[in-house]
Amino acid sequence: MTDLAVSIPGLQLKNPVMPASGCFGFGQEFSEFFDLSKLGALVLKAATLKPRYGNETPRVAETHSGMLNAIGLQNPGVKQIIQDELPFLDSYQVPIIANVAGSTVEEYVEVAKTISQSSNIQALELNISCPNVKEGGIQFGTDPKRSANVTEQVKKVTNKPVYVKLSPNVTNIVAMAKAQASAGADGLSMINTLTAMKMDLNTQKPVLANVTGGLSGPAIKPIAIRMIYQVRQEVDLPIIGMGGITSSEDVLEFLLAGANAVAIGTANFQNPYICSNIIDELPSTLEKYGYSSVQNCSAKGVTE
């Protein structure tokens, strides 16, 4: 029997697979397709303090083996999320991670504080890397000092473990990770999307109303693997790996490169059953390559 269980700060996962923030809404739509209790964990769509409408449409575009999105953190605000969205998830046996966003340090702190009071939430994921909003997000995510400050301030107001989601749009990912380790982050999520763009040949304008968007999907997988591998060599924090995962082999690749658990984003759009399928296939894939447990293969490929 292959042992899929993973334990990382604040989270006892029955398997290492969770949907990535923003690609799974608040769970409800996907519950039509499979039993959410199957998931290792469930990461909610980003919450801000006030409701946000987000960017104008078009908000998505397709690229080779990838897609662009510029949703712009549309969400009903942290209070409505707690009130309207979380109760639905009560009936599932799945740890929930809240994705926390903001335009200012104060907003991150407020959102974190508010959502931490909800007993349904097992951990926070600080989204300091959204490329699709004018203020906050990536501004914090590309500066080690400012990003560390967000984490420090948030840590003061919550007793939940804090995972910080790193942006790949940086020269030095290891420096960003180290800054988070010193700031007291409990774990890292990597990677968020790469800032990118597509032109519409007919209109001569960018396809996305927001001009730029975040590139996700298999196209970016090699970049995610590289960043996780580099960070794993120098930083001891647990890593939730993501970026282009579409199969159980991909999950194994992320684990070997240094991830402790994984999240699946864009692939949910092509196949809403993908998380469930991957969880089903993982035991035989691990076995095929000679592993008896997930814990066994994590960071196996990393030379220190």
Partner: protein, 258 residues
């Protein structure tokens, strides 16, 4: 209720300029409650195309377990669709979305206004309305003669007015040029077509109850990603937006801002 199926392509043939009619067979045909719903179709092999393509249901034949769709080739995805041969299978999620509301609609005089590839979903709708003893008038707009399709099928269901922008078939002009004449005699209208047309139609039909089907680029197609939102007209609406894939694609003309 079926949510996904590998449907078999029974037919895939040119219908008009860059426009193709495809017939799919599968169990799904037994589970299409409303006209105006769409199939969310997976494109290509492997991971080249991560986004599915939403295509409206043109017609349903539950006895033969068949669904007809009509699509225009405009980019990579519809080009791939065009190249698929009968016998091959397509992976579809469906039926998605909320279609045209027709419950309790009986003995009314109803106007359908379709433009280009907005025409397809109106066909299944027209058939439903007629089954429910309504009288249907259709106004179909196309760019040019070569782009025209299904005009005869609609003509069989009631009065049909064909309009082309260049006048090469039917009347010359835009659909909205011809709507005022119907305004006073109809009870309600349904429309589907390009955004500009929908705007003009709803403006022209101001006082009459109407429903329209919207298009937007989609991520998930199931309501989870917030890619396909539009704004609500009512400033006091507590959400302020609707998801086209889940709340729509059909909305009351009063509900959303175009």
């Amino acid at each position: 209720m079926i949510k996904e199926e590998w449907m078999t392509i029974v037919q895939n043939k040119p219908l008009a300029l860059d426009t193709y009619e495809m017939i799919l067979s599968g169990e799904l045909a037994d589970f299409i409650p409303d006209s105006g719903q769409f199939l969310h179709i997976r494109i290509g092999e492997g991971m080249t195309h991560l986004l599915r393509r939403p295509i409206s249901i043109t017609n349903v034949n539950p006895e033969g377990k068949r669904i007809t769709i009509i699509y225009k080739m405009i980019g990579e995805g519809t080009k791939w669709l065009k190249e698929q041969q009968p016998g091959h299978k397509l992976h579809v999620l469906g039926p998605r979305g909320n279609g045209f509301p027709v419950e309790d609609v009986k003995y009314e005089k109803i106007l359908l206004v379709g433009g280009g590839v907005g025409v397809p979903p109106l066909y299944y709708l027209a058939r439903k309305l007629i089954n429910q003893h309504n009288q249907v008038i259709t106004v179909l707009g196309f760019q040019t003669k070569k782009a025209v399709f299904y005009e005869k099928k609609f003509a069989q269901l009631g009065n049909m007015l064909l309009v082309t922008e260049d006048g090469t078939a039917g009347f010359k002009g835009r659909v909205t040029d011809f709507l005022p004449s119907f305004r006073d005699e109809i009870d309600r209208y349904y429309t589907c077509g390009p955004a500009g047309m929908l705007k003009a139609v709803t403006k022209c039909m101001d006082t009459i109850p109407g429903f329209l089907s919207l298009e937007e680029r989609m991520g998930c197609g199931i309501g989870a990603c917030f890619a396909c939102v539009c704004k609500t007209s009512d400033p006091h609406d507590h959400k302020g937006y609707r998801k086209i894939c889940k709340d729509g694609p059909v909305f009351s003309a009063r509900e959303v801002i175009l």
